[in-house]
């Protein structure tokens, strides 16, 4: 089981900046075009939590309209890191389902697929990357087991 280390806002912004290309679109932020102050402010507005799991950063933000659902994001294809985050959300946030918005071709796609997420559609030209619009895929996952208590 991979250990999750919670990051404070300043180290979350620094970690996302280090992750570079893999962190583009992480919960909707973009460390390539946004500075640390803006990253911190946007993550705070989402009420997001960022964790370090080995070399990977994973993050989650609650869905304001449905407290049992969380938006999740990861900077790499590391399945164990994402599984650790999902386990944390079930146990400590009582999440029953997850949504991930990832750009087409992002590294995290592979981890999502292995964790049982299913693709639910594509948002056309949703984000702008390196001079061209890119599609964003919507992935949905259901918690395997709910919180026992």
């Amino acid at each position: 089981m991979t250990d999750l280390i919670p990051l404070d806002p300043a180290s979350a912004a620094a970690g996302l900046r280090e992750a570079g290309e893999g962190a583009r679109g992480f919960l909707g932020v973009d460390p390539v075009t946004e500075n640390d102050a803006l990253l911190t402010r946007r993550l705070a507005a989402l009420d997001a939590q960022v964790f370090r799991a080995g070399d990977t950063l994973v993050g989650a933000a609650p869905n304001p309209h449905q407290p049992r659902q969380a938006y999740v994001a990861s900077t790499s294809a590391d399945e164990a890191a994402l599984r650790a985050l999902l386990g944390f959300l079930v146990t400590y946030r009582r999440a029953t389902s997850y949504v991930a918005l990832v750009e087409r071709g992002a590294a995290a796609t592979e981890a999502l697929r292995r964790c049982g997420f299913a693709e639910r559609g594509a948002l056309r030209d949703h984000r702008h990357r390196s001079g061209a619009p890119v599609d964003v895929l919507v992935w949905f996952g259901k918690a395997a087991e709910t919180c026992p208590s």
Partner: protein
């Protein structure tokens, strides 16, 4: 019809019985009398634009001024003189041609009776669906994302 900017005198329009964040926020029939009405905050900061049509508001939020996209939500009072079709058309025209955005998207809840023909006529298409995305009537219901692109 054209939208005009929000003023403090329009504050009464921002509260009503529609679903939060809905692309076409029409008053929901059978709203429980004890449930809080939905409220939209007045605009704050550069990521938010709020516009007003007679009896309705249009809110552009999460605006990405670099990628030129925004999420749209509307709310219409039950006795508003603006029909839903005209409201959506004005929202799209304002977003594309006055805010100079390239993409508009929003949430649509199939569990609520939404006239999808009005959305299609305004240029929106259904792009994705997210199960269990909104708490409505004692259960989590599916929500869809509808988006429109400016072709130029």
């Amino acid at each position: 019809m054209r939208l005009r900017g929000y003023r403090d005198g329009d504050r009464a329009l921002l509260t009503g019985r529609w679903l939060p964040g809905e692309l076409l926020g029409l008053p929901l029939p059978g709203w429980p009398p004890l449930a809080e009405p939905t409220t939209v905050p007045p605009p704050s900061g550069p990521g938010d634009e709020l516009c007003v049509a007679p009896g309705a508001f249009v809110r552009y939020t999460d605006i990405d001024w670099v990628g030129r996209g925004a999420r749209v939500e509307t709310g219409r009072a039950p006795d508003a003189p603006t029909p839903p079709e005209a409201l959506l058309e004005a929202a799209v025209a304002h977003g594309f041609h006055r805010l100079n955005l390239r993409r508009l998207y929003g949430w649509v809840t199939p569990a609520a009776p939404a006239p999808t023909t009005a959305l299609t006529e305004a240029g929106f298409t259904r792009e994705a669906s997210v199960p269990e995305h909104l708490w409505l009537g004692g259960r989590a219901v599916e929500r869809e994302i509808w988006g429109a692109l400016r072709h130029d």
